[in-house]
Structures are given as C-alpha cells and as structure tokens.
C-alpha cells in the first residue's frame, strides 16, 4: 500500500517530463532557452508565449530555438530569425524603434506632462495670491485665500485704522 501511494506521488513528475525534453550541452543555454521561449509569442494561439503553448507550431518554434542555441547562435540572431518569419508580432518585449518609441517612452512623457501641469498650476496660484495681496496693500503671508468676487475685482481693502482694529480684535481672542 505504501509503495502504491509513493508511486502515485511520483506520477505528476512523470507527466511533466512528457511535454518535451531538451538536453543542453551548456547550462547557460538552458537558462537562455527559458528566457527566450517566455519572451516569444506564439503566432497560432495568441496571448500565449511559446513556452506555455501546446500548439504544434509552438513546439516547432521551441525546437528551433533549442537547435539554434546549440549551434551557438546569439539571442539577437534567434530573435531576428523569428521576426523575419513572423514579424514584430512574436516579440513580447518589443524592440525600441520608430514605431514602438511611443510605447516605450509614452508613459514617461505623460508623467512629464503631468508634473509640468502641476508645477504650472501651483505657480499660477501663488502668483495670483501674491498679486491679490499686493493690491490689498496688507502684509499677507501668501497663504491667505483669494477673496476675489465673481467679477474678478478684489473687495475694497481696509484702511490702516480699520486693520489695526481688526488686529486688536483678533489678538483679544488668542489671549484667552
């Protein structure tokens, strides 16, 4: 009974080995093989890479990758081989060129635009506050809200006596 259970445990290992077995003369080839087959897209069953796909075509392409690796081909040559046959479509990691430039750098451009917009808005606001306080002629610290009316004009500012009175009133409160 125990032997039977142990055999059962071994079964998944067997089914794994049945997929396809490649022998590599150099462990480095094996690593590159997995790297390449993960990055190459299967033309038949789209949205799968050739490492994952069960399609016969994917098996052919895996065999081809293995053959070329054993012949000592560089990664670039293998990728070129695939691209001349199946186009840029097979690349899950598109190369940087005129067409894919936007894809690679677009997000950074958008981020740059976003930062620029934020900077412009905050600078604009600071300038507006500064000019508003200047017009009022008081010693605002710049953080005061902008009390402009709907028609864009500032409310009539306080005279020196009025602001002195306001200050004493305000300080009265903070003394408590």
């Amino acid at each position: 009974m125990r032997v039977f259970l142990l055999t059962l445990l071994l079964l998944p290992g067997l089914s794994w080995g049945a997929i396809d077995v490649y022998e590599f003369s150099d462990p480095q080839y094996e690593e590159r093989f997995y790297q390449l087959t993960r990055e190459l897209r299967c033309p038949k069953c789209q949205n799968q890479n050739i490492a994952d796909s069960d399609a016969p075509l994917a098996a052919d392409l895996r065999r081809e990758v293995h053959r070329m690796l054993e012949q000592g081909a560089s990664d670039d040559r293998i990728i070129d081989f695939m691209v001349t046959r199946y186009g840029d479509f097979v690349l899950y990691r598109p190369r940087v060129n005129g067409v894919t430039w936007l894809l690679w750098y677009g997000p950074f451009v958008l981020l740059g635009i976003g930062v620029l917009v934020v900077v412009l808005i905050s600078r604009n606001r600071r300038q507006r506050v500064a000019s508003a306080t200047e017009r009022r002629g008081d010693h605002g610290d710049g953080a005061q809200p902008d009390h402009r009316r709907d028609d864009g004009t500032a409310p009539p500012s306080l005279g020196p006596e009025e602001s002195a009175r306001l200050n004493t009133l305000l300080q009265q409160d903070s003394d408590k």
């Binding site: 789209q46 016969p56 052919d60 392409l61 081809e64 691209v83 046959r85 186009g87």
Partner: protein, 183 residues
C-alpha cells in the same frame, strides 16, 4: 482667464481621442497577422525537399519560379483544406491558374491518396513533413495561400480557405503583379 477656459476642455479632448482610438480598435482583427515575407517582397525561402506526386524527384525554390502563381499550404489533417480543395480544382481546370502545393506536416502516403481521391489541382507539390519550409514561410496554420510573382518573390498571403471572396482579392493581386512585370 481665457487660458483657463480652454484648459477646461483638455480632458474632454483627451477622452474623445481615446474613445476614437478604442472604437477603431474594436474593429481590428487581432488574429490578422501580416506576412513579413509578403510585406518586404522577399523571395521564396530556399529549400530542397521531395516531390509528393513524383517520388524520387527533389524540388527546390527554382522549380516554382517562372510565372505568377499561387502557393497553397495544405494538409490532410486540416478540415478547411478539404473545403477549399474543390475550389482550387476549379481554378486550375477552368481558369488555368498555376497552383503549387506545400504538403505541410503530413504523411506523404495519406496525402497522395487524398489527391487521387479529390483530384490534383497542383502543378507540383512539395513534401514538407518536418514543417521546415512552413517555418521559413512564416506559416502559422493551414491552409495558407501565397501569391508568387514570376521572379519567385512572395507578394501576398491569404490565411484560411480560398473561396470566391478570397479569390477575388487573389485574382486582383495576381493581375497587378503580372501587369507590373510586363515591360
């Protein structure tokens, strides 16, 4: 103030552009794979493979060169190939179209029987049992049909069965290729 009014419409503009982009994307067929060979008018890949109908004879790319022709990739395991076979027979017989065949990843004996049974529209059939020629052509499923010009360059690829609708396109391509080659 005027500047701000314009800025308010920027998100709407971005939204509209994105909407158009996605709308167009809805009608694109992601399974449509342009052929690299046809795009760059590449010559037929070099091969040296046996002939299906004439065992013992070896065919090379030079045997398919000379006139504007169709190159049809087929197999007996492919149901769509059976669908288009009658149409190919008629093209060859009634319209005198030159069609070459590539028997793709198939058993040659079964393929020979199939041609005996359903007639043979092909001028010559290349046996590509390992799929090596198919790989060089960028075949990703059978049937596929290529238009070859008289110098053996690949000019067009059609994926799927050749039917009346597909033939219309193929015929146009063949006519314009033939036109172009006439001095």
């Amino acid at each position: 103030m005027n500047n701000r009014k314009i800025l308010v419409f920027v998100p709407l503009l971005i939204f509209t552009l994105l909407g158009v982009l996605l709308w167009v994307g809805l009608y694109l067929d992601p399974r449509e794979l342009p052929s690299e060979l046809a795009k760059h008018k590449r010559p037929l890949p070099a091969f040296s493979l046996p002939s299906l109908t004439n065992p013992g004879q070896t065919l090379t790319q030079a045997d398919l060169v000379g006139e504007v022709a169709l190159l049809n990739v087929w197999a007996t395991w492919c149901p769509t190939c059976k669908v288009e076979h009658g149409f190919l027979n008629r093209l060859a017989r009634e319209q005198g179209v030159t069609i070459f065949g590539v028997n793709y990843k198939d058993d040659p004996e079964t393929a020979r029987n199939w041609l005996r049974r359903y007639q043979n529209p092909y001028r010559a059939v290349v046996v590509d049992q390992e799929g090596s020629l198919g790989l060089d052509l960028g075949v990703y499923g059978a049937p596929e049909t290529y238009v070859l010009d008289a110098t053996g360059r690949i000019r067009y690829r059609h994926v799927g069965a050749v039917d009346a609708a597909a033939w219309q396109t193929l015929q146009q391509v063949m006519a314009s290729v033939a036109q172009e080659e006439r001095p």
